[in-house]
C-alpha cells in the first residue's frame, strides 16, 4: 500500500500531499533537464501513490514536455483535436476571455470511447487566470473501495458500452476540432490498475450509454447512483494553477473536472484567458 505517512525524500525530490484523498506537489525537480533513473523512479512512485502529481515554476519547451512524457510511455495523438503545427502530440487548450465554460468542466475520464484510453496526461499552464479555473481530481480507487461488499459483488463483471465523437467538442472558440467518425468501445466498470493491481471505478458518465446486454433505461439507476457516489467531494483534491504549473494525472484511476467559475456578470470578474499545453500518454486496454 502506498505510504503517505511521511513526505518521501530522495536526494532532492520531495513529495507533499495535497489532500487526504489524492494529489501531491513535487519539488526539487527541474523538468527542463533530463531526469536520471533514480529521480524518475521517485517521480513514478509518487505518481502511483498519489494519482495526480504537481510541479510549480517549470519553464519548459514543447520538446522538453514531450521528453518528460516519453519517460512514461508512447505519446498519444488526440483523435478529435488538432495539435500544435510543429508538435501534433501537443494539444493547446484555450479558453477565450469571453467564454464562461472550459473544455472538460464536468467530471470525466479522458477518451474512454477508445479501445485503449490514455494512461495519463501532462498538462502545462502557459497563461492562467489569477483565481478562476482551478482543476479538481477524484480518486476512483476510493470510490470503489467505499462501496459495500454487496454492491462490489453486484457490479463485478459489468461491462459498459461507451460512445463518443466530435459533437461534444464544437463549442470552444479557441480550439480546432476534427470531424472524426464516432468511436465506440466496451470496458469493465471495475478495472484493475496494471501497475498497482488495485481496483477502481471506471465510469465516465457522459460517455457510457448502457451496460452491455442491458437497455439504457435498465442501466440508468445504477449508473446514476454510482456517478453520484463518485462525485462525493471527499474523494477529491483541488489544484490552483499558476503560470508554469504542471499536473500529471493517472487517467486509469482518477476523474477530473475544471471549475467553470467565470462569473463575469454575476460577480463583476474581469474576463480572463486560459491557455495550457497537454501531452497525453497511450494506455492499455482496461481489464
Amino acid at each position: 500500500m502506498a505510504n503517505q505517512a511521511h513526505a518521501t525524500s530522495a536526494d532532492q525530490v520531495t513529495v507533499n500531499p495535497l489532500s487526504g484523498a489524492l494529489g501531491a506537489e513535487i519539488s526539487g525537480v527541474d523538468l527542463s533537464q533530463p531526469l536520471d533513473n533514480k529521480t524518475f523512479s521517485d517521480i513514478y512512485q509518487a505518481f502511483l501513490d498519489h494519482l495526480v502529481i504537481f510541479f510549480r515554476d517549470q519553464v519548459i519547451t514543447p520538446d522538453q514536455q514531450k521528453n518528460f512524457a516519453l519517460r512514461f510511455g508512447k505519446l498519444h495523438i488526440h483523435p478529435l483535436t488538432e495539435g500544435l503545427d510543429e508538435h501534433p502530440e501537443i494539444v493547446e487548450i484555450v479558453k477565450e476571455p469571453e467564454e464562461v465554460h472550459n473544455w472538460g468542466d464536468r467530471w470525466h475520464i479522458d477518451l474512454t470511447s477508445l479501445e485503449s484510453p490514455p494512461m495519463g496526461s501532462i498538462l502545462y499552464a502557459k497563461e492562467v487566470p489569477d483565481f478562476c479555473g482551478d482543476t479538481q481530481w477524484a480518486n476512483m480507487y476510493l470510490a470503489y473501495e467505499t462501496l459495500s461488499d454487496g454492491m462490489k459483488r453486484l457490479i463485478d463483471g459489468l461491462v459498459c458500452v461507451q460512445a463518443g465523437g466530435a459533437d461534444g467538442y464544437k463549442n470552444y472558440k479557441g480550439m480546432q476540432f476534427i470531424d472524426a467518425p464516432p468511436m465506440q468501445a466496451e470496458h469493465p466498470l471495475v478495472r484493475t490498475h496494471p501497475d498497482t493491481g488495485k481496483k477502481s471505478l471506471f465510469l465516465s458518465r457522459k460517455a457510457i450509454k448502457h451496460f452491455k446486454d442491458m437497455t439504457p433505461e435498465e442501466s440508468a439507476p445504477l449508473l446514476d447512483y454510482l456517478y453520484q457516489h463518485l462525485t462525493n467531494p471527499d474523494f477529491a483534491c483541488r489544484f490552483h494553477w499558476r503560470n508554469n504549473s504542471i499536473a500529471m494525472w493517472d487517467n486509469r484511476c482518477t476523474q477530473h473536472r475544471v471549475q467553470a467559475d467565470y462569473f463575469h456578470e454575476q460577480r463583476d470578474i474581469e474576463p480572463v484567458y486560459r491557455r495550457m499545453h497537454r501531452v497525453t500518454i497511450e494506455g492499455d486496454r482496461p481489464v
Binding site: P17, F131, D261, F263, R267, I269
Partner: protein, 287 residues
C-alpha cells in the same frame, strides 16, 4: 454588485480572491490587535463582497476571538454543544485523531432552526492536519441567480421547515453535547440579505426536510433538485488550513462543508487531531 475585480486595489489591506465563486485571503492585518474603524470597514466590505474571508498566521486566544466576533455583531451561545471553560461564547471544534468524521461534513447552514439563524462565524485553526480536513464554502447568491426565471418565480414565497435537536450533536468524541429543547423554524427558501439586498437560496442538504404546509413526500422532488443544484462544485471554493489560519463567513448567503478525507486505512494517511476555536454572531430573522 460585488466589485471583485477592484478588490485588490484597496489601500490599507490586501484582498486576494481564491476562486471565481467566492472567498478571499486578506493580508496586512494582525487580528490580535484592536482594529481601527477604517480597518474594520474594509474587512467588512471584503466580507460582503467575497462572502468568506481568510487570514493566515494569526495568534488568537479566546478573548481575541470574542473581540473580533463582536465587531460583526452580538455573539451567539451554542446551546447543544459544551462551550469553552470560562468563555461560553467560544466553541472548541475538535476532531480526535482516530475520528474520521467532522462536525459539519455535509453542505449546511449553521443553526437554521433558530428563528434568527446566526449571521456568521469566526473560526481559528489551532492544531490542524497537514493535508486533510480542508473546508469548502459555496455561494448561495450564485445558486439563486443560476436558476431559471420560472423556477425563481415558483420558489418565491415558499418556506422551508428546519428542525433542530441536540441529538444531531452527539457522536463527536472531542465535543461533549448538551441537552436542549428541540427547535423548529420556517424560513423563506429565497432570502434577501439585510445588508447587500441581494437574494440567495437558503436551503441545505438534509433529507427529510419539507416546505411549510406541504408533506415531506411532496417537498422531496423540488428539495432534491435544489440540493443537487447547490452542490454544484462551480459555486464553491476550498480552503486549506494551516495552524493560525482564520476563516470568517457569512452564514446568510453561504453553505459550508468540511472534507471527510481521513482515509487512514485506505490510503495509510496518518491519524491527526483537528482543533479549532469558533465564535458565532447572532443574525436577523430571514425575509
Amino acid at each position: 454588485m460585488a466589485k471583485v475585480k477592484s478588490a485588490t486595489t484597496r489601500t490599507r489591506i490586501d484582498v486576494r480572491p481564491i476562486s471565481g465563486a467566492l472567498g478571499a485571503v486578506i493580508t496586512g492585518i494582525d487580528l490580535s490587535k484592536p482594529l481601527s474603524e477604517e480597518e474594520f470597514a474594509e474587512i467588512h466590505q471584503a466580507f460582503l463582497d467575497h462572502l468568506v474571508i481568510f487570514f493566515r498566521d494569526q495568534d488568537l486566544g479566546p478573548e481575541e476571538m470574542i473581540a473580533i466576533g463582536s465587531r460583526f455583531g452580538e455573539l451567539h451561545i451554542h446551546d447543544y454543544t459544551k462551550t469553552m471553560d470560562g468563555y461560553p461564547e467560544v466553541i472548541e471544534v475538535i476532531k480526535l485523531p482516530e475520528e474520521k468524521h467532522n462536525w459539519g461534513d455535509d453542505w449546511h447552514i449553521d443553526s437554521p432552526s433558530f428563528d434568527s439563524p446566526p449571521l456568521g462565524s469566526v473560526i481559528h485553526a489551532k492544531d490542524v492536519p497537514l493535508y486533510s480536513g480542508d473546508t469548502q464554502w459555496s455561494n448561495m447568491y450564485l445558486a439563486y441567480e443560476a436558476l431559471s426565471e420560472g423556477m425563481k418565480r415558483m420558489l418565491s414565497g415558499l418556506e422551508c421547515v428546519f428542525k433542530g435537536t441536540h441529538k444531531g450533536f452527539m457522536g463527536y468524541g472531542g465535543m461533549p453535547h448538551k441537552e436542549g429543547p428541540d427547535r423548529t423554524a420556517a424560513h423563506p427558501v429565497v432570502r434577501t440579505h439585510p445588508v447587500t439586498g441581494k437574494k440567495s437560496l437558503f436551503v441545505d442538504v438534509k433529507p427529510g426536510r419539507n416546505f411549510k404546509d406541504m408533506t415531506v413526500e411532496e417537498s422531496a422532488p423540488l428539495l432534491d433538485y435544489l440540493y443537487q443544484h447547490i452542490a454544484n462544485p462551480d459555486f464553491a471554493c476550498r480552503f486549506h488550513w494551516e495552524n493560525g489560519s482564520v476563516g470568517i463567513w457569512d452564514n446568510r448567503c453561504t453553505l459550508h462543508r468540511v472534507q471527510r478525507d481521513y482515509f487512514h486505512e485506505l490510503r495509510d494517511v496518518p491519524e491527526s487531531l483537528r482543533y479549532m476555536t469558533r465564535v458565532q454572531m447572532m443574525g436577523d430573522e430571514p425575509y
